[in-house]
Amino acid sequence: MTYAGYAGKFLTVDLSSGAIGSLPLGDELAEMYLGGRGFVAKLLYDMLPRGIDPLGPENVIVFANGPATGTLIPTASRIAVGVKSPLTGTISASYIGGHFGPELKFAGWDGIIITGASDHPVSLVIDDREARLEDAGHLWGKDTLESQRLLQEELGDDFRLGAIGPGGENGVLYATFMHVQHAAGRGGPGAVFGSKKLKAVAVRGSGGIAVSLPQAEYIASCKELHDIIMENPVRPAFRWAGTTGMLPVVNASVGLPYRNHQDDQAPDVGPIHNDEIAKYVKRYEACSGCNVICGSVVEFERKGRKYRSERIEHESVFALGPNCGIVDLPAIMEANYLCDLIGIDTMTAGGSISWAMEMTQRGLLTSADTDGLDFSFGNADVLREAVLKIGNREGFGGVLALGSRGAAKRLGKGAEYAMQVKGLELSAYAPRAFTGMGLSYATTARGADHNKAFTVAAEFLGVLGDYDRYDLEGKAHLVKTMQDSTAIIDSLIMCMFTVDLGISVDLYARCASLPTGMEITADEVYTIGERINTLERLFNIEEGFTRADDALPARFAKEAAPSDPGAHTLDVATVLDEYYTEREWDAAGKPRPELLARLGIA
């Protein structure tokens, strides 16, 4: 490895044989795919046979750091966890903040490649350059936080840990891998850990990461980047209310999905606002290397049960709250905490519950189908029971453990009420109200993810342009370029929030070149982003995905949101050709040979 910033090696672990080794990171992989999400795309594309069962031993788990991880570049602490998703069947990378990624790099590793499956529960323990598998029979069945606590006691305070809970062990298709309460969640990587009987990963790193410049110069350059964030007027809002500060604002603008996306505005979000959430805060928390500080520890109580937890995030509030017709904040926070304990994705959990609620509303499900639970919209009490049943795959929980698309398929009804793309439930921005988000949900490789082109920045927040939020004009170009620039953020890996805090594409290029010494321009950033998105597309096409899968639930083209005075609908099919043209894909959505040649993918 010629470049600084990288550790230069992947740890390889074959759970079937117990063999542990290493794989050098070559210059070409770094130059073409940068890190993080790019490494996940390239490694999974090359390693996975087509058509495998995501929960079979052939699936591969890739942990991947980026070149900026642990190098003082602001927010560069996230690590990608990639698998073929059991929920969607697509390629999928989820990201964990906290301290796990930098610790892994201090231990000397750019990532971990985990193959095969163990026949008994194991933990992977990485102590600098040494790694070993330990029996984890005593942890199996324990929740994510108890598992981490026990392992921490055994190994010592200076290890950074992550574990799955019952959700992953029981094969809930959207199970998470949790580092403290940071989830690698969407798409269900935890279920792949469970299928491999990999209960936990622990790492301690005492080594260092070299950077490309003499220290005084490097420190001054990084400080400039930190100061841009520090001085941004939006920063205090993140710190004060975390991500949920946006929710009442989006709702007031008629852009918050309500009652399983039947409407785009809740009549009243009640206590879901900054001042109320701030009352629960006990201390502020940051990920490694971060000065945004969107995290905090909260204490709350519900029905005599007391909790101490990481503060809830915007998407989790939405999915377990207003989209289920619920604004009871302690009930939503309790359900969120239980999802973390059990190890399931709050967003697909909420999306599955809201599906069951619309099914109930329409008389397609009764309490006889749901083990007596009342899935009426607005019933806050059902959240706790539903989450516990999903984690244990008990009764109707076993149906909801398949996600909304899988649940509808299992029951043979209600597919039109499953608010998902490619099996992944939609996020907290109503596609009819932010049409760029709609197109992004429809075309993103892993399904309806809000974080792969957060066009709300350009359609609502006035960052990155000033687009009409309803009009589709220019959105194909906007979505394509944001998908490409986001792929770089996911590969460095920095936090998405930096987009809203003054870090432009030029500066992301700088964040790639500063630690590594790689010469990289803003244009090249876009090219690497294009390459990653195109390779992810190829993966999906070879798995049988077609143009027909780039579609939103039919509801949005047929019905306007009742609360929207403009009665807007959205049919993304009308701009799909334009989007494919922007991407240099053919009418079937396949990347053209000329594009593959230009990007060096063959």
Binding site: D157, S206, G208, A286
Partner: protein, 136 residues
Amino acid sequence: MQYIEFHEEKCIACDLCSGVCSLNKLGRVQPAGACIRVTRDMSESFGAMRCSVCDMTHDRECVESCPADALVWDEAAGVVRFIEEECTHCEACVEACPNVRLDAVSDRIMICDLCDGDPLCVKWCPEGALTWGGAS
């Protein structure tokens, strides 16, 4: 006497202090080798943060423990200096004081010298959890 003050309730566990310290002193980002180390009490959920850095009280147990002349009290600057050429790598100083650290990569003793009066950790702390304490 000046020293670095730690305000536990303000610490957000971002590790920027140990990151920038290690880069400045060692030329690589390596929190485990930094002069300052911030850790968490892991025995409870989001437990208290702890900071380990020379408190400049100057009982100078590190200096007294050194059988060579590798740790020297610099009275003018009010800090203990590490003289690498004199070090015999006996690690007696690390035993003597929890605020003295060994960089495992270079085998060098790490002790805070207040960055010649302008400590980077204080400058980089985004929450004011580290401040300048004492009078000059």
